[in-house]
Symmetry: C2
Subunit: 308 residues, 2 copies
């Protein structure tokens, strides 16, 4: 956990990092701890709580944004319908209306909208290409949340009906089984020929980064894996475009480190699968991914939600 | 074209239907004609234009909603960047801010939101299963338009990469090649066995309606086609759910006439492809499709947009 004091223009004025959680995940204990850190950061900057416009809280898990509830979270044992904004307001001694809850997918996007690659844009999709594919969507300037707060789970959309099974959900052929950083490695490992420079890296040495690097260095097999990954990514992006017509799709996460190498191929594959009567106007970019994006995004969520 | 006077509660108080357009598609001629019909309808109800809160215009084609432009429309020859709201305002002698432009996909959804099956809902997808698959999306109570007004083209999302080619766009495997009413007929015709009751209907006699009817009457081949259609529909709906998390998906258009027969199978297939750790909470329904939905939707668009 990180606590920070953020200015209205997106500068982090002061911050404190929390030691890792122990075994006690009791919400009251955790929130009390956060509140102490808030006071510490404020004191270090000689700012009073009354001068703070709002408090943004970024949480993992399934959230009820309106009620400020954490309905469930995989990494927070025992958290069921935890009234996080109320607990936080009580501990800080402020009104609950000044505390805003946001999820981690959306805070990453909010940080880009505020001070990053999506600044000033109203129709944007952010894709985090890592272990899976995480996503955040803003449409017409409004975050797409859905009726249960479960919108923007694009990594779980079905790309290849009856395709690769996903063990966690039991659903076959979902996007992240083809185009996440994990999927790149899994697919690469399936058929490395003896003449590929990837051969011999060993199970530990072969990551997504290596596949892209060896492709850039001219390895034909690695190039094939990268090209196919770009194709899978592009087809999913076509579907984003048909549904949401964003002006910008941003990539972040491990695979985004490939930068232009990734973008060039995705643009090429996108054009191949694009509705051919209309020109491609959609922009693809690597996200700025500012340090402490979660902190900045939570602060921006508060800034947007609180009338001051 | 239909012109109508609609009350604030969605009743059509008076209306007039226009004779079909002749060869002259000059926007000025058409708008002048519409304006005369507006005056006629108002006179028939003894209502003055001053007493009308706003004018909603439903148009096909690619629109710029903010500027009130019809950028292009396949069936309106020569229409390029036509300032439809301005022309209408000029002809009626009212301020342009009182004229609101909306597209036909969205007006169908707006009619459902106002007085139909989606009343009071904020996260809804409407699918028109006819020649293609048309769609309208509302998310968090706001129509999803996209940056070029091209959102909600779900029928053109890619369901089966490298699948059936679509001649109009050159893209392979799009949703409407599998799950529109037209696609049901095309797929059914491809392999009718001699013992199917569909055999012998002839190319003219075999429509989407017949496939569903023969399936209901026990024909195994027709049942197979219906089941596969439901599967294709359900997979596309899974993807809507992952992206938008709607509370309701509505079906309208020719295939929706199959009613419960369609819904039951789509629900079943949806559950099979659903993220298995979470229960299905998404509701599927046949749209109410009120008469003159385009008229009602355009009126509601004006009601929502104009502050009065």
């Amino acid at each position: 956990m990180t606590v920070g004091l953020v200015s209205r223009t997106g500068e982090i004025l002061g911050q404190a990092r929390c030691e890792p959680l122990g075994d006690d995940h009791d919400p009251n204990v955790i929130v009390r701890h956060i509140a102490r850190m808030v006071q510490k950061v404020l004191a270090s900057q000689s700012v009073s709580l009354g001068a703070v416009a709002g408090v943004g809280v970024c949480s993992p898990g399934l959230l009820d944004f309106d009620k400020g509830l954490v309905k469930a979270a995989a990494n927070l044992r025992g958290w069921r319908d935890v009234p996080l904004t109320q607990l936080m307001a009580d501990q800080l001694g402020i009104d609950r209306s000044r505390v805003v809850l946001e999820n981690d997918g959306n805070t990453a996007l909010l940080a880009e909208l505020w001070i990053g690659a999506a600044k000033g844009k109203k129709d944007v999709v952010l894709l985090t290409l890592g272990t899976g594919i995480g996503s955040g969507i803003v449409s017409g300037g409004q975050l797409v949340r859905g009726c249960n707060g479960q919108a923007g789970e694009l990594g779980h959309s079905i790309l290849i009906p009856e395709g690769r099974p996903n063990k966690a959900t039991g659903v076959q052929g979902i996007w992240e089984m083809y185009a996440s950083a994990t999927a790149v490695v899994a697919r690469a490992k399936e058929g490395i020929p003896a003449d590929s420079t990837l051969h011999g890296l060993g199970p530990e040495g072969l990551g997504c980064k290596e596949v892209f690097k060896h492709a850039a260095d001219g390895d034909t097999y690695a190039q094939g894996v990268v090209k196919e990954t770009a194709r899978f990514l592009a087809i999913g992006c076509i579907n984003c475009a048909r549904c949401l017509d964003p002006q910008l799709i941003l990539f972040t996460g491990g695979m985004a480190e490939a930068g232009d190498q990734l973008l060039t191929q995705v643009r090429e594959q996108f054009a191949l699968h694009h509705w051919s009567i209309a020109p491609v106007r959609l922009e693809f970019r690597i996200a700025d991914s500012p340090a402490h994006a979660g902190l900045l995004g939570a602060a921006y969520a508060a800034l947007l939600a609180i009338d001051f």
